[in-house]
Subunit: 344 residues, 2 copies
């Protein structure tokens, strides 16, 4: 699989981020050496998708560290921590961001002086980047083994190379299946409010040559009940130790309706998305974003002025609705508590 | 309840239709004596909602009949039938349109000559209009008896006065509950692709003074699972003899998730929505609308050029997910086959 676009690239002392809020109409880039701009890009979803924001966060720490003038190791580490905290405060749900920041912290602890720490951070961020890309490649190939010839696969949100800086998670599995000549086709949920499915998934599948039909999120149930869907596969933003999974808002009802219609429901995610410190989905923090994302479309108000909207960005799918979790370290089947523990 | 707007008004020899595609930003009207313009307004959703399109269809037949010059009764009836067929071909799913056209046909059969038939058609259309408005008033009050103080009620699409030319069906129940001082609040699904929830339901609830929070369709499951929803209530476009119900796309998954979370799921509709000739939901024709409604927003393409979209306008909720069907003739509980037969 050849990917001719990259959501994040390290340019030595700057990072280049493909602005996903402008896709598919415009392919524009943010090039910056300012960690605050990276944090802003994560917050504003210029870079999004759990694995990709982990990678962007790691490079953000590098950019912040490269500019710190402190001479003492202690003072330097203190200032790196401030950079890391600013990046951590951008988005609360995706585990991969914290996974990356924790790795960056460990890497910095090993350096003896600011110069060594800077080098260690650059190395670690690139390592995270490469490992996450490799992980998605591996899980995509593992997941493709579960997909059958001629299947129609339903997916939600965007989980391709744009979301991962690699092959993709759920979309990686689909594209790997396509490459194996299994002639699958995709029903892609548009994914309101920000239309990542319509804007990004349809764009990526078209580039990959996979037949795709766009539907509104509300149509998925109809197609499942009509026997038109062979499996549902989505990515994940955080997986608890028991397999409960937070993912883009709208994932949970897909899982319920899939189960009701005996359609397999798969989660695809690298192990960096698993949070062993969180026992169940009830403890996963759910990001609440601004009401304007629901009330407005391209700046234009959809409703009368003065109407309220809610905007939880994720929901939690309890483990009992999940047929299998596809990771780079293997495919986990129920019971998840044991399966995940064994894998990690 | 005072309603200061009317989706359809009969002006003697013309009909006035509030253009719902422009709401809530603009309150514009179509005034016409041309039945083809009424048919166009139904097709383009200028007038929409199962009861309202029945009423509009009846007035369309009147407008067509008033212009027929045929001298013989037979030739006149033949031409009326052509008008009726043109109106019948606009939208296939909502039962109320065919219910109204069948009543208009029966009324015309009684007239002895063209002049008598014209008078009979005018009278019958106004009777249908009044009866449908009265039916929604009655079912709203019956349904309010099921709603409890302080409830948060989730609804989908638009089912208020705009959709019915009366109180409303599901929204009528909510507004009647509010008028009883039960202090309910509403979570309104925006209802993609045409945003009837965002544009119309939020507008009508605001006018009625009912607290409303707008959500995307994909958020409904999250709020149900989080214990924030006390009941779900929607309208219906066609109810089969066994209670299976076709309604706006996205209704079926709401019903499945409601059942999964032990939340009551109600359908509210006048008996004119029940189709005794259709044994089960599998036989209800589902309208497939143009892909552009999904691909574009206010004319602007959301996706890359060349992406396909599906656009089924309705889905079918099997009777086993429905807690009760609220009609103007009474509240029907399972088993529906017997309950509906007894009521009709």
């Amino acid at each position: 699989m050849k990917i001719d676009y990259q959501p994040i690239e390290w340019l030595g002392n700057r990072v280049r981020i493909l602005d996903q809020t402008k896709l598919p109409q415009k392919e524009t880039y943010l090039v910056t050496d300012d960690y605050r701009k990276v944090a802003g890009a994560i917050k504003e979803l210029k870079v999004r998708g759990a694995p990709a924001i982990g990678i962007a966060g790691a490079y953000g720490v590098v950019l912040g560290a490269l500019k710190i003038k402190a001479a003492s190791r202690e003072e330097f580490l203190k200032q790196v921590q401030k950079v890391s905290d600013a990046i951590a405060s951008t988005r609360p749900t995706a585990r991969n961001l914290f996974f990356a920041l924790e790795r960056m912290q460990k890497a910095s602890a090993k350096g003896k002086n600011p110069e060594e720490i800077k080098k260690a951070l650059v190395t670690e961020a690139q390592k995270i980047h490469k490992e996450e890309a490799d992980a998605t490649k591996h899980l995509s190939e593992l997941g493709a083994g579960l997909m059958k010839k001629g299947w129609t696969i339903l997916t939600h949100c965007n989980t391709g190379p744009l979301a991962t800086s690699g092959y993709g998670t759920a979309l990686g599995v689909i594209i790997a299946t396509h490459k194996q000549g299994k002639k699958v086709q995709v029903l892609a949920d548009e994914t309101r409010p920000l239309l990542q499915g319509a804007r990004l998934t349809a764009w990526e599948l078209k580039k990959a040559g996979v037949p795709v039909t766009l539907i509104t999120d509300s149509m998925a149930g109809h197609f499942m009940r009509s026997g038109k869907v062979d499996c549902v596969i989505t990515g994940a933003d955080r997986i608890a130790a028991n397999g409960d999974t937070a993912n883009k808002i709208g994932t949970y009802p897909l899982a319920v309706v899939a189960k009701e219609n005996r359609i397999p429901f798969y989660i695809a995610a690298p192990v960096s998305t698993i949070d062993m410190k969180i026992k169940s989905g009830a403890r996963i923090p759910i990001e609440e974003r601004g009401a304007d994302e629901v009330l407005r479309f391209n700046g234009q108000l959809l409703v009368l002025d003065g109407i309220n909207a809610a905007n939880p960005a994720f929901d939690v799918t309890p483990n009992r609705y999940i047929t299998a979790i596809i990771t780079d370290k293997g495919i986990i089947k129920p019971p998840y508590l044991e399966g995940i523990k064994k894998l990690i």
